[in-house]
C-alpha cells in the first residue's frame, strides 16, 4: 500500500468488486454487483425496494455475511479475509447501524441501550456519559426519558435514540436501512435534519437505503439497486417497485 494508486483505493469507504452472493441451497444469485464504491465522507442514497437484495447487501457490507464471490473492502479492510470475531469487532468499531424498527432492546433503558455500543467500543464510563448526554440533548430526547425502558418511547423518540446509538462511537461508516419508514412526514424531516446536518461529522460516510424517492434531495449522490444489482436484470416480473 505504498503507491499513490493504492492510497487512492484506500480512501474508499466502500469498495465492492465483482460481488456475487447466493443464499445457501439457492441456485440463483441474490446479488451480482460488478462494482460499487463510496469514497470516504460521501453521502449516498441507495434506492431499493424490498426484494431488491438491499438487506443482503447491507449485511455483506457490515460483515454479517461473506460474499460467494468477489471482494468487499470496507475502509480498506477485506472483510472476507477476517475471522468471525474480527468482523464482529470491526463492525462494532467502524460501523453504525440504524434500522426501520427494533433499533433498541425493548427492556433496556435508553442509557443501557447506548451503553452496549459504548462497551463494545471500550469507551470509559466517563466518556460514555458525556457522549450520551451530548447526543441525546442534541436529539432533544428529554432527560427524564433517559432511564426509561426503550419500549416506553414513541416511535419518533426511538428513532432519534437510534441515531444516538449508531453515532455514540463515532463510526466511520453509517448505514441506515429505511430509518424513516415508520415515521410521519414531520418526524421524517426532523429526523433527516438531525441525521445529516446536526449529528454526523463531515467525514462520516453515509449509506442511506430507502424506497422513498422524496428523500433523494438530501443527498449528493443517488444509486439504485435496480442498476447496481445485475441479478435483478434477469427478466423477473415478480419485482415490484415501491
Amino acid at each position: 500500500m505504498n503507491s499513490k494508486a493504492d492510497y487512492q483505493v484506500s480512501s474508499q469507504a466502500i469498495d465492492v468488486k465483482h460481488l456475487q452472493y447466493a443464499w445457501s441451497g439457492n441456485e440463483s444469485l441474490t446479488l451480482d454487483i460488478p462494482e460499487f464504491s463510496l469514497p470516504v465522507g460521501e453521502r449516498c442514497f441507495l434506492l431499493g425496494s424490498s426484494g431488491s437484495g438491499k438487506s443482503t447487501l447491507l449485511r455483506l457490507l457490515s460483515g454479517l455475511l461473506i460474499p460467494s464471490a468477489g471482494s468487499i473492502n470496507i475502509l480498506n479492510q477485506n472483510l472476507a479475509a477476517m475471522s468471525v470475531r474480527a468482523r464482529d469487532r470491526f463492525r462494532a468499531h467502524q460501523i453504525g447501524f440504524i434500522f426501520q424498527q427494533f433499533n433498541l432492546i425493548p427492556y433496556l433503558s435508553i442509557l443501557d441501550n447506548l451503553e452496549v455500543s459504548a462497551k463494545l467500543n471500550k469507551l470509559s464510563d466517563k466518556t460514555f456519559r458525556a457522549r450520551a448526554s451530548e447526543l441525546l440533548t442534541r436529539l432533544s430526547v428529554a432527560e427524564n426519558l433517559w432511564r426509561r425502558r426503550a419500549d416506553q418511547l414513541s416511535v419518533g423518540q426511538q428513532q432519534r435514540v437510534a441515531i444516538a446509538r449508531a453515532m455514540i462511537h463515532h463510526p466511520a461508516l453509517l448505514i441506515a436501512d429505511e430509518p424513516t419508514s415508520a415515521l410521519d412526514e414531520d418526524a421524517r424531516d426532523a429526523f433527516m435534519q438531525l441525521l445529516l446536518n446536526d449529528l454526523t461529522e463531515s467525514d462520516t460516510t453515509i449509506l442511506f437505503v430507502s424506497h422513498d424517492r422524496q428523500l433523494i434531495s438530501h443527498f449528493n449522490r443517488c444509486e439504485s439497486m435496480n442498476e447496481l444489482n445485475q441479478a435483478l436484470a434477469i427478466p423477473d416480473t415478480t419485482e415490484a417497485s415501491a
Binding site: 454479517l64 464482529d88 434500522f99 427494533f102 427492556y107 443501557d112 463494545l120
Partner: protein, 451 residues
C-alpha cells in the same frame, strides 16, 4: 456487561423465570433437607454419647437398646434386676456404671431415674463432661436435676417444686403428688437428649412408685427382697463366674462398701427399683469385648451388652440403603428441575431473534450471546439454590424444638456442608451443560442472522 444484560433479560421474563426459580428452589430444599438431616442426625447421634464403653440392658436388639437408653427413642422393654446391676458393679473391669430407669414423664419430658454417677462420668461430644449451669447434683431423694431445655421451656428455676406423673404421656392420670421434687440443679446445655431429661435419684423414683406415705429418704430395702428368683439366678451366676474369674473377694468388698454408702442418692450398688439399662465405663477399653461376651452369655438374666460406637455403625449401615434411595430421588428431582430450566430458556429463544439480530448488527459476537444464555441459566440456578438453602435453614430452625423433643435430634440451621457444596457444584455444572441446548440454538441463530 453480559451479566447486566442477563439480569435485565431475566427480569423481562420474570414470570417464567420466577416459576423456574421456585421449582429449582423446591428441589434444592428437598435435596439439602435430606442431606442436612442425614448428616446432622449422624453428627447429633455420634456426639450424644462419649466415654461410655458398654450399655447393658435386657435382651433386645443392640440398635433398640442404644436408641432408648441413649436417645430416648422408642419404649424401653423390661428392666434389668438390681442383682445383675450389683454383679456388674462388682466386676473388677468396671470403673463405674450409671443406672438409667426410664418410664415416667413430666409434661412430655422423659424422667430419668439415675444417681450422681451420671454427673460424674457421663460424657458427650468430644469427651465433654456434664456441667451444672446452676445448683448441684442430688443430695436427697426429693432432688431433681433438669436438662437445660426442660428448665428453659417449663420456666423452672432452682428450688421450684415439681410433681411428677407416671407414664410417658404428656397428660397422665396418676400424678405422684405424694412425693414432690425440688429442683436442685440445672445442667448446662449439651445439644443432646440430656437437655430434654428430668433427672431424679433412683430412691426418689422408688418412693414415687412405692406405696404412698413411707419414708422417702429410706430407699425401701424391702423392695429388694421381692426379687427372690433373681437372687437365685445371681447365686448361680456367682458360682459360674467364680470358675474362671478371680474377683469374688473384690465383689464382696464392693458390696460391703455399697451397703455403707447406700443412701440411694450417691453411687448405689443396691438398687431401690429395677432399672432400664446401665451405662458402663471400664478401666481399660481393651476389655470391652470380653465383658460384652460375658454379659451376652450371662445365664442368670437375658441381657444385651452394646458397644455404643459399634451399635451406631450398625444403625448407619441399616440406614445406608435408605440414604442411597433418598440421594437417588434427590438427584432425579434436581435433574427434572434443571431440564425445566432448559425448557424455559429454549422456549424463550424464538422471541429473542429480533434482539439477537440487533446485537449482531452492532457488533456483539455470537459467543457473547451464547454466554448470556449460560449466564441466565447459572443466575437462575444460583438464585434457586440460595432460596432452597434458605427454605432448609428456616425449616431446620422451625422444626428444631420438635425434632429435639421427639427424636433427640439436634440439628443446626446451617445447611451448607461439604457434601452439599459438592451437590451445588454438580448442580451448577449440570445447569451449564444442559443450558447449552438453548444457548447453542441461540448461537446458531446468531450466526445466521435473518432480519
Amino acid at each position: 456487561m453480559i451479566l447486566k444484560l442477563a439480569i435485565k433479560s431475566l427480569i423481562e421474563r420474570r414470570v417464567s423465570v420466577i416459576l423456574t426459580v421456585i421449582a429449582l428452589a423446591i428441589s434444592i430444599a428437598v435435596v439439602s433437607t435430606v442431606e442436612h438431616i442425614r448428616s446432622e442426625a449422624q453428627n447429633s447421634f455420634n456426639r450424644t454419647v462419649s466415654g461410655v464403653d458398654l450399655i447393658v440392658g435386657p435382651r433386645t436388639s443392640s440398635i433398640n437398646l442404644l436408641l432408648y437408653s441413649i436417645f430416648r427413642i422408642g419404649t424401653p422393654g423390661n428392666g434389668i434386676s438390681s442383682e445383675t446391676y450389683q454383679l456388674i458393679a462388682s466386676d473388677s473391669r468396671v470403673a463405674w456404671q450409671i443406672p438409667i430407669a426410664l418410664g415416667d414423664s413430666h409434661q412430655g419430658y422423659r424422667v430419668v431415674g439415675t444417681d450422681n454417677t451420671l454427673f460424674a462420668h457421663y460424657q458427650f461430644g468430644n469427651r465433654q463432661a456434664l456441667t451444672f449451669a446452676q445448683g448441684q447434683q442430688f443430695s436427697s431423694s426429693h432432688d431433681v436435676v433438669l436438662g437445660s431445655d426442660v428448665a428453659k421451656d417449663l420456666g423452672y428455676s432452682l428450688g421450684d417444686e415439681i410433681v411428677l406423673s407416671h407414664g410417658i404421656a404428656e397428660v397422665s392420670f396418676t400424678q405422684h403428688d405424694n412425693h414432690p421434687f425440688q429442683v436442685s440443679g440445672i445442667l448446662a446445655a449439651t445439644g443432646t437428649p440430656t437437655d430434654q431429661a428430668v433427672h431424679i435419684p433412683l430412691s426418689g423414683l422408688a418412693a414415687m412408685h412405692g406405696a404412698g406415705g413411707h419414708n422417702h429418704d429410706q430407699p425401701a430395702p424391702n423392695e429388694h427382697t421381692n426379687h427372690a428368683n433373681d437372687d437365685v439366678a445371681v447365686n448361680n451366676h456367682n458360682e459360674h463366674e467364680h470358675e474362671h474369674e478371680h474377683e469374688h473377694e473384690h465383689s464382696n468388698n464392693d458390696s460391703q462398701q455399697a451397703a455403707d454408702t447406700n443412701t440411694g442418692i450417691a453411687t448405689v450398688t443396691t438398687l431401690p427399683v429395677d432399672i432400664t439399662a446401665t451405662l458402663i465405663g471400664l478401666h481399660s477399653r481393651a476389655q470391652v469385648f470380653t465383658l460384652q461376651q460375658a454379659i451376652n452369655n450371662y445365664p442368670g438374666e437375658a441381657l444385651t451388652g452394646v458397644i455404643p460406637g459399634i451399635a451406631l455403625a450398625e444403625l448407619w449401615q441399616m440406614m445406608a440403603n435408605v440414604e442411597g434411595l433418598l440421594r437417588l430421588i434427590s438427584v432425579l428431582v434436581m435433574l427434572a428441575s434443571i431440564l425445566g430450566l432448559a425448557t424455559m430458556l429454549l422456549a424463550s429463544i424464538r422471541e429473542r431473534y429480533p434482539e439477537v439480530s440487533l446485537f449482531r448488527s452492532i457488533g456483539v459476537s455470537s459467543g457473547a450471546l451464547l454466554l448470556s444464555i449460560e449466564a441466565e441459566a447459572i443466575l437462575i440456578a444460583m438464585t434457586g439454590t440460595l432460596l432452597g438453602l434458605g427454605f432448609t435453614a428456616i425449616a431446620a430452625i422451625i422444626s428444631q424444638p420438635w425434632l429435639s423433643q421427639n427424636y433427640g435430634l439436634y440439628i443446626s440451621a446451617n445447611p451448607i456442608s461439604g457434601n452439599m457444596m459438592f451437590f451445588i457444584g454438580a448442580l451448577l455444572i449440570a445447569t451449564a451443560v444442559v443450558a447449552l441446548i438453548p444457548a447453542l440454538k441461540l448461537y446458531r441463530a446468531a450466526r445466521i442472522v435473518s432480519r
